[in-house]
Symmetry: C2
Subunit: 207 residues, 2 copies
């Protein structure tokens, strides 16, 4: 794509030698990677078109064409960063797989919880961002989880009457609750908490 | 307190006749009531010292002395508004009481969910506000819930091994999750959802 801004820095190593223009997809990925790095280093306020352009070696004009605001760019970078971390295992043992998955989520929150909370928080006042959050993240994560839960129910590992959609809120959602409505240090988001969520839900709390 | 700003409107009906000055507590309550009304009418961005001063009939200087930013004022108004709505019943039947309480929460979210999400969201980027959220709301609500759950466990209504703190995240927290990471209209926060949360947790989900 164009690199016409006068403030564009020298081509970074990402630019393939011998080619005058980078492929659009390369530029996109470079922009997302630079944004993701900024996001986790400096938080959502660290993401400006200026900084991303400098770091990724792309023009601000290009960024602006693809993402109407730095907020949208931050969101997309966030989603692609999360994609890999939260893959859903299927070993055939639901409880073990949920434990693996929630421990991964808790680990992510321990490393990058503040940034994640800022991203989700910032979306609450911007309809466009909450829509992106729903479509690019929430619906996809819920679907992956419910698919796995449905398979487990068919394999006889879940009570037939259990509400699978509500399980998502009672495991993943419970972690987001402690992240965004915190009472620290008494109530951390750690693996012991993840295990307690699973134990409460699998065993039930009634006497 | 002082009403010295030149832009102070005529004294509102709240001002007791025959007294030149309102008691500090009256002024405080008037400011909180005005803020709460603005908050639920216009969202968090509607809360400015200018508007609150005009509506409550107090000076901007007075507001500024008590609350360093409109954000802090909005927060305190939010907490006092929530206080009444979310009283915790104790009829001796835990499951019935949790149902009553969660239905009230869900009702509040249906009426004012957007504002609540904005308030919690805005706190994520401001350490001072997240601290206020923890101290003035989260810790107190958790304590009320855990006290009630502890009494129920002593009355033999809960499994001895159940993690009471995690229950809070799996009921109230699950509702906040759907509010702030929404997938609408498929996954509403309604009384059917509240009932599903309680059924999953009481009965357990294991086959």
């Amino acid at each position: 794509m164009e690199q016409t801004d006068i403030d564009t820095p020298p081509p970074p190593p990402l630019l393939k030698p011998g080619r005058g223009r980078r492929r659009a997809e390369d530029v996109r990925q470079a922009a997302l990677a630079a944004t993701s790095a900024l996001l986790f280093e400096e938080g959502i306020r660290g993401v400006t078109f200026e900084k991303v352009a400098g770091r990724a070696g792309v023009s601000k004009m290009t960024l602006y064409k693809w993402w109407s605001t730095p907020g949208r760019l931050a969101f997309e970078a966030y989603f692609s960063a999360l994609e890999e971390t939260l893959a859903f295992p299927d070993t055939g043992d639901l409880r073990a797989d949920l434990t693996t998955q929630l421990h991964a989520l808790v680990g992510l929150f321990q490393r990058s919880g503040a940034t994640i909370a800022q991203i989700v928080g910032a979306a609450q006042s911007e309809p466009e961002l909450i829509e992106a959050l729903s479509n690019q993240y929430v619906r996809r994560r819920r679907q992956l989880a419910v698919d796995r839960l449905t398979a487990a129910r068919e394999a006889g590992q879940l009570r037939p009457g259990a509400d699978l959609d509500a399980i998502v809120d009672q495991l993943w959602g419970a972690c987001y609750h402690r992240l965004m409505l915190p009472a620290l240090p008494e109530h951390p988001v750690d693996t012991a908490f993840a295990d307690a969520l699973i134990a409460n839900l699998f065993g039930g709390i009634a006497a």
